[in-house]
């Protein structure tokens, strides 16, 4: 095997935390996107803007906010620490950073696909006696399937590429919080260009696979 044990560890760590982050935000993202697309409620625009903030703010700023919220000196961080949960400077910090940074991409994509579902179909389903829950799972979700898959893949890719927020919340600790992006940066800093290129190659292969996979899924759906 041409990869070192470290390379494997970094790659697997990035993929698994990225996957966990995507699965974690998926239900919240879908529900929030539906509330944005289908319901009117007070302060909706404020919540919408807040959710989108990590997309436009410097990731480092978002990371700093997360550090202040979850750090051991904050009330929440202290409360969690006393119950055995330490978020910052371990894999959970990586997870939180990835989740927060990729959330807006998921919500935007899913929201658009919900908005494209003809509300008339949901109305007719209701008049045929379907409960709101049945309408959601049997009509809305399947019809918005494309956008949900695309949003999840986008969120996953964004999670893998996360750098700025992660380095503040989780640091760059080899073997504990070092992701592909952080490791590439580290190797370049240390002048280990050959190691950096191996990881670079992995990121290119991963990115290509995801784009290819999402295209394949969307095409497959059209033919179904």
């Amino acid at each position: 095997m041409i990869f070192s044990a470290d390379t494997w560890q970094i790659t697997l760590f990035s993929i698994s935390v990225g996957l966990a982050s995507t699965l974690l935000i998926l239900p919240f993202g879908i529900i929030l996107a539906w509330l944005f697309a289908r319901k009117e409620w007070p302060l909706k625009s404020v919540v919408e803007t807040t959710v989108l903030l990590p997309l436009v703010m410097p990731p480092v700023s978002t990371g700093l906010i997360l550090l202040k919220i979850f750090g051991r000196r904050s009330p929440l961080g202290e409360w969690l620490y006393q119950r055995g949960f330490e978020i910052v400077f371990n894999w959970k910090g990586v997870l939180i950073a990835m989740a927060v940074m990729s959330f807006p991409l998921l919500v935007r994509s899913v929201r658009t696909s919900f908005a494209e579902v003809n509300p008339r179909l949901e109305q007719i389903a209701a008049s045929l006696g379907a409960s709101p829950l049945k309408i959601f799972f049997v009509i809305t979700i399947p019809l918005a399937y494309k956008g949900i898959v695309a949003g999840a893949l986008l969120a996953f890719s964004r999670a893998l590429g996360e750098f700025g927020a992660t380095i503040l919340v989780a640091g760059n600790i080899p073997g504990r919080t070092q992701t592909l992006s952080l490791a590439i940066y580290n190797f370049v800093q240390l002048g280990k260009d050959a190691d950096a290129y191996v990881l670079l190659g992995i990121t290119v292969v991963l990115a290509f696979s995801f784009v290819w996979l999402s295209e394949w899924l969307l095409r497959g759906r059209q033919n179904a």
């Binding site: 008339r120 109305q123 007719i124 008049s127 045929l128 379907a130 399947p142 019809l143």
Partner: protein, 357 residues
């Protein structure tokens, strides 16, 4: 059934108050008169400012009593204009979508799935994807879906409007079969007079959100008030006839109207005793004060003028020739012939002016 509601719209308020009890009630009016809105209001898909909606003794909406049942609990079968089939589900799953609602109701209406599929002739489509259906097939599937939810009332929104003329005439008999087979009351929205005359027992004429007239279709649609609501609309007479015999070389078939009068219609290869509907445009009937001779028209029917309505430069003359025929003339023709109520006249109708529905 009681319907009294006010729905604020962009350009006018839809304001209808009416109570009726008929197998098929048509809501008739030009596009943009608020017909679909009215159906949406009955189905609970649109907010109503004030009013009351009651179907079969059950209050669906009442602003006074603060009742507003969600669409799920109104027990109505809505067939929207575009059909609105669920594109990701097969024909079978579409049809069965609402069937759980009243599956416990064991009714004598013979609304078994097999029977509904048979009446609408869609059994062979079950495994298909909805996207593979033709317009006429999709409408029948949407109709089956609504019927199988065993509603207490069917709401049909221009089910034929999206179909081309040839297809319309093919679907109309299915609607008549639904009416006759399943005994579910229907509200049928349309801007087509022929459909009203062919299907409905009662008609509400609305225009710009107001009820202009209501009554028995043949009378109401030929009244001057209704005509004012739909001046550009083609006026037709529709009759249910029983087939007697055919003469292929002569190119005509003999049929009997429900009054017993016999007329000739274009040749049709069907067996005796079969009932059909035929129609003839009010503009295609000639009116004479003496029996004409030496003319080609196959039908010369004696009758008596029952009513004359003059609307602007047109005259609508209702003639009782054992069956009420509505004839549209120029206002000048009424004066030239000195027509008045009670005048004896002859209706002259070419065989080929009759169309089979």
């Amino acid at each position: 059934m009681l319907l009294r509601c006010r729905v604020p719209l962009a350009t006018f308020d839809l304001d209808v108050g009416v109570s009726f009890d008929a197998r098929v009630t048509a809501i008739f009016g030009p596009s943009g008169s608020g017909k679909t809105t009215l159906l949406d209001a009955i189905a609970g898909l649109r907010e109503i400012a004030a009013g009351e909606i009651e179907v079969g003794g059950k209050t669906l909406f009442s602003s006074a009593r603060k009742i507003n049942l969600p669409p799920q609990r109104r027990n109505l079968g809505y067939v929207p204009q575009e059909g609105a089939l669920f594109p990701h589900l097969s024909v079978r799953r579409n049809i069965l979508f609402g069937s759980e609602r009243n599956s416990r109701v064991t009714d004598a209406k013979m609304m078994s799935i097999e029977h509904v599929l048979e009446v609408l002739e869609i059994s062979h489509l079950l495994q298909r994807s909805v996207t593979e259906l033709s317009g006429g097939e999709a409408q029948r599937v949407a109709l089956a879906r609504a019927i199988l939810s065993r509603p207490q009332l069917l709401l049909l929104d221009e089910p034929l409007a999206a179909l081309d003329v040839g297809l319309k005439e093919k679907i109309l008999p299915y609607l008549a079969r639904v009416r006759d087979e399943f005994g579910v009351p229907m509200i049928y929205v349309t801007h087509n007079i022929t459909e009203v005359l062919a299907l409905a027992d009662w008609v509400l004429v609305i225009r710009s959100g107001r009820l202009m007239a209501q009554g028995l279709p043949a009378e109401t649609l030929t009244s001057s008030r209704a005509l004012r609501a739909i001046p550009e609309e083609e006026l037709e007479n529709v009759f249910t006839v029983e087939f007697i015999d055919s003469d292929k070389p002569a190119g005509r078939s003999r049929v009997r109207l429900s009054s017993g009068a016999e007329i000739f219609v274009p040749y049709l290869p069907v067996s005796a005793g079969r009932t059909l509907q035929v129609r003839v445009r009010a503009d295609d009937i000639l009116l004479g004060t003496q029996r004409p001779e030496g003319i080609s028209a196959g039908n010369i029917l004696p009758g008596t003028v029952r009513a004359i309505d003059i609307v602007d430069d047109q005259a609508l003359v209702r003639v009782d020739a054992r069956e009420i025929f509505c004839v549209r003339l120029t206002a000048g023709a009424v004066i030239r012939l000195a027509l008045r109520v009670g005048s004896s006249v002859f209706l002259i109708i070419k065989t080929r002016s009759f169309r089979i529905l």
